[in-house]
Amino acid sequence: MDKFLFTFICMVTLLGCASTKTPNASGIETKYVDPTLESRSSGVGLESNDVINMTDSMVRSILNDPIFVNLKSPPRILVDETGFTLDGNTRINRKLITTKLRNGLSRAAMGRMVFVARYAQQAIMAERDIKRTGMVDRGTIRQTEATAGVDFKLVGSILTTDERHSNGLTSRYHFINFELIDMELGVTVWADAYELKKTGADDVVYR
């Protein structure tokens, strides 16, 4: 009896030590998640909800600025990533921010401002060429001498500063700066920023 009990206990002990677990062993079915919600991933960089919140905030800020309300004709604005710089430790697709911003502005402006499609300039020039050579007709709207010049261009930058604390906490502060520059006079006509700070600690085995 004692021998049986001893053997049983040893077997249970060994099984306990040898047992293993695989996270999500059977996989996870694809599902849609709300991009405006905080991500389950953990890091101190930018996530989808940050991009959505910051671009929504900038759209409201631009459209509420009196300078764009009082103009006689809709200003031509260039919003692309060419003037948007990364000056910190967060790696992000700049086009994601500027495209979302242009899209939001374009929908909300209701014709109060127009957006210059410089990113499609090559295609525009090719189309103008074949119209003018007669390969295709003139289209139905109009012909212009030149493509649109820019009144205001968006520039900006993502600036960060990182902190590492002795208790293992790491923090990253983001200052995402947006400005609209008068492309004739060379002055800033609008500026705003989106700020956020995230903090967390890695398991001690990684510090």
Partner: protein, 409 residues
């Protein structure tokens, strides 16, 4: 309580204690190296590079290893395969692999089962998902930055080099925090090529490597073997670094047209690895080692006691005092059990430090910048060294050109 009951109690309680202390080794999920390579090949602009196979043959060893080691070593596989693909000119693959490594290193592992298990006595440190030591993480930033530059994305390159340099601030030794001047210099170079001259100058000054404002070619030469990690201490609980056996640091000469240049050493990874200082987990591993020693001592002591009790039991039996003999034999049995389980605990304690390493890193990085107005000789620069000569072909990166070469050790 009689001795028989006491022995039974001990026999039940000890394994329960052992079970509660015994953590599970965690399994890992399948590796994703093949997916990353396919993603890179599917999304890169045709004609930018000349990859003919969806999963290049030269990456087969890493794909096989990734299938075996799974997600636990994903960052390590990305690191190794990333260098291999850069050597083949497939920088779009390097970029995707290093980008994935960057994301995984950036992820904060809080309440992670594998990391939690790695802290317990019975699971080794290498159970945790690999992120690498600070010099290895920093080099992810280095290769990601190079791949960004070769892809024409100078803004991301600035971030990659800067992020890599930040990884070096993990160093516990205050004197050597943030001393990876090569990455500060490269961030400056990326800014220089992006036309951000003011900011670039600040980085050049901080790195101690100054260039002429008109320079538009950067040549990087990597040579030597990666720092070697090894486990020191009686139970291998101390992580140490040493230089690999290799040839001496060479001097190089670059020849372009009728002009020759001498690259300067801008990084020594053995220095970076060996000046890291202590890690917080070292205290945990030291605790594991102490536990292993203590439980071993308890096992040995209990065994001596068990043998003594057994001898005494026999002598009492010979003298006819069967009651004392029985009691002594019960004590001996109890001590025997204590010895057995203490020994099991000691043998199963794993204090060994994690020595997984990025083995195909170089040791030295040499760099040189100069100005070229009109390319001659099919954009060709000749590298002359004691052990090898090579022809380098710089590639455009914004307003500049970059030539990267790895000297085989």
């Amino acid at each position: 309580m009689n001795y028989a009951k006491q022995v039974t109690t001990v026999a039940v309680i000890l394994p329960v204690l052992l079970l509660s202390a015994c953590s599970s080794t965690t399994k890992t999920q399948p590796g994703v190296l093949s997916n990353l390579i396919l993603e890179a090949n599917n999304s890169h602009v045709a004609g930018q590079t000349d990859t003919k196979e969806p999963l290049p043959e030269y990456l087969s060893p890493y794909l096989v290893e990734n299938q075996k080691s799974g997600l636990r070593d994903q960052v390590l596989m990305n690191m190794k395969a990333g260098i291999a693909s850069l050597q083949q000119g497939d920088y779009h693959i390097t970029r995707r692999l290093m980008e994935d490594a960057y994301t995984r290193i950036e992820t904060l592992y809080a309440n992670n089962d594998a990391a939690k298990a790695a802290r317990t006595n019975y699971v080794e440190e290498a159970n945790k998902d690999f992120k690498g030591e600070p010099y290895e993480r920093a080099m992810v930033g280095y290769y990601l930055g190079l791949a960004d530059m070769l892809s024409g994305d100078l803004q991301s390159a600035k971030t990659s080099f800067g992020w890599g340099e930040y990884q070096d601030t993990m160093s516990a030794s205050e004197n050597f925090q943030s001393d990876m001047s090569s990455l500060i210099f490269l961030r400056g170079w990326a800014k220089h090529c992006a036309g951000e001259q003011e900011s670039a100058r600040a980085d050049f000054t901080a790195s101690g490597v100054n260039i002429d404002a008109s320079d538009n070619v950067l040549v990087l030469i990597e040579s030597g073997n990666a720092p070697v990690k090894y486990a020191a201490g009686e139970h291998g609980e101390k992580l140490k670094f040493k230089a690999a056996d290799e040839v001496q640091n060479e001097t190089w000469e670059l020849v372009y047209g009728n002009t020759s240049f001498e690259p300067i050493q801008i990084e020594d990874l053995v220095f970076q690895a060996s000046t890291r200082g202590g890690r917080p987990i070292d205290a945990i591993l030291a605790g594991k080692a102490k536990f292993k020693d203590t439980t071993k001592s308890v096992a040995n002591g209990a065994l001596v006691g068990a043998l003594a009790a057994s001898t005494y039991s026999q002598s009492q039996a010979y003298s006819g005092d069967y009651n004392s003999s029985y009691n002594a034999s019960m004590v001996g049995a109890a001590l025997g059990l204590v010895s057995l389980f203490a020994n099991v605990m000691s043998e199963n304690t794993v204090p060994k430090a994690d020595t997984r390493q990025w083995g195909n890193l170089p040791r030295f990085i040499h760099g040189k910048t100069f100005q070229v107005n009109d390319w001659q000789n099919a954009n060709q620069i000749t590298l002359l060294g004691n052990s090898t000569n090579a022809e380098l072909y710089p590639m455009p990166t914004g307003k500049c050109y970059l030539a990267w070469h790895r000297v085989d050790s």
